[in-house]
Amino acid sequence: MSQTVDITLNVNGEARQVSVAPTLSALNMVREMLDLTGAKMACGEGECGACTIIVDGQSVNSCLMFAVELDGRNVTTIEGLQSPEGLDPIQQAFVDHGAIQCGYCTPGMIMQTKQLLAEIPNPTDDQIRRGLEGNVCRCTGYTKIFDAIHDVASRTSS
């Protein structure tokens, strides 16, 4: 029987305590132990970005991160964007522009957009392309994703 490690972290503004196996991924921890199933497992090797979460203000591939490393950290998942008043403006813009086809990449796209807009509030097409370089939409619905990002950027930065 393997040792489990007790970790304390803040997830979407709430203190959580979990006991994890040393090699468990952050993705499996949030999905299986915290029931936060927004972050998706797709490639499992950091190539697609569907598992993107934000840890202490930095986006990461949660499939490549060890859950033990989240001890003492602040984690935001897609579930944490929504407030009682409604969707995050980025989520709303994705809905408004139909920037969703099958939807599997969407949580990762939105979390990485959150990171991008925190660094560059009004990005150019090239800056969006660079910012989302680690996220893949296999439906290839990129045009509407760009439209949604430009729209939310103009709404929030003006």
């Binding site: 393997s2 040792q3 490690v5 040393p22 090699t23 991924s25 090797e45 950091g46 190539e47 970005g49 993107t52 930095q58 986006s59 990461v60 591939n61 499939c63 490549l64 991160m65 060890f66 033990v68 490393e69 001890d71 990485q112 990171q115 991008l116 660079r130 910012g131 370089e133 680690g134 996220n135």
Partner: protein, 286 residues
Amino acid sequence: MTEIENYLAPTTIAEATEAMAAGGVVVLAGGTDLMLQLEGKSDGTTLMNVRRVVEMQGVSVDGNRVRIGALASVSDMMSDPVIAETAPVIAETADRFASNQIRNLATIGGNICNASPAGDMIIPLMLLDADVELSRWNGGKVETRNVPLDEFFTGPGKSVMAADELLTAVSYARPAAGFVAGFDKTGPRPALEISMVSVGVAGVRSAGGLSSPRVAYGSVGPTPVRGHKVEAAIDGQTLNDDVVAAALVAADEDVSPISDVRASDWYRRHLVRVMTQEVLNNVANG
């Protein structure tokens, strides 16, 4: 191969190396390579997360030397003021590394320890004649040795680092005035590519060329390599057509690529010539 059963999270190099002296330790830093290498099985039974070791974090200056803690992330290289001032080629290379999400996790020390022939961050550090700092527990205290990065790698995934040694930092001397450097890599797309070929060139600009040049290649042999023959061909020379032609012949001799899923030997040699000429031109002429 065994299962990971135990977990350690030391906060000092002393604690970490003492644990490694007991054997069976797998070191975790960023985890981006390790997660895929473990897949539930490993060479050790204890996972040691070194991320809380303060002495292995951040970039610092000690006299003439710049020390990059092994835990500094690839993203850190893009925003650190000391790196920007002393060796912008490190930031330039970091900007080409994987994706935002991976750069935020992956560490400089991890990229070196993984000892991939395609490890991007190794190339600019080779141009800077960097040393790696290896620490181990010996006789009740931490013993440290510095190994030139040039002599660190012995094969794919292999290095001179012993099983009980921990890579704690990489350091380089502040480059001379007039030092310039550049990096380029090739893959099918700009992001998330394991380089088919990477090239770095550096030197002090002089008389239409470079003096004390440094040339380094990735993905062209079992380890990242210095282009010693190219360096000899261009050292102090004005880069006219004859000198460049000689440098490209030398480049072909400096590399020993294989054919694999990413590119053929032939194509890699072609890329080495084209990219050497381009990076050399950019670095020497600005």
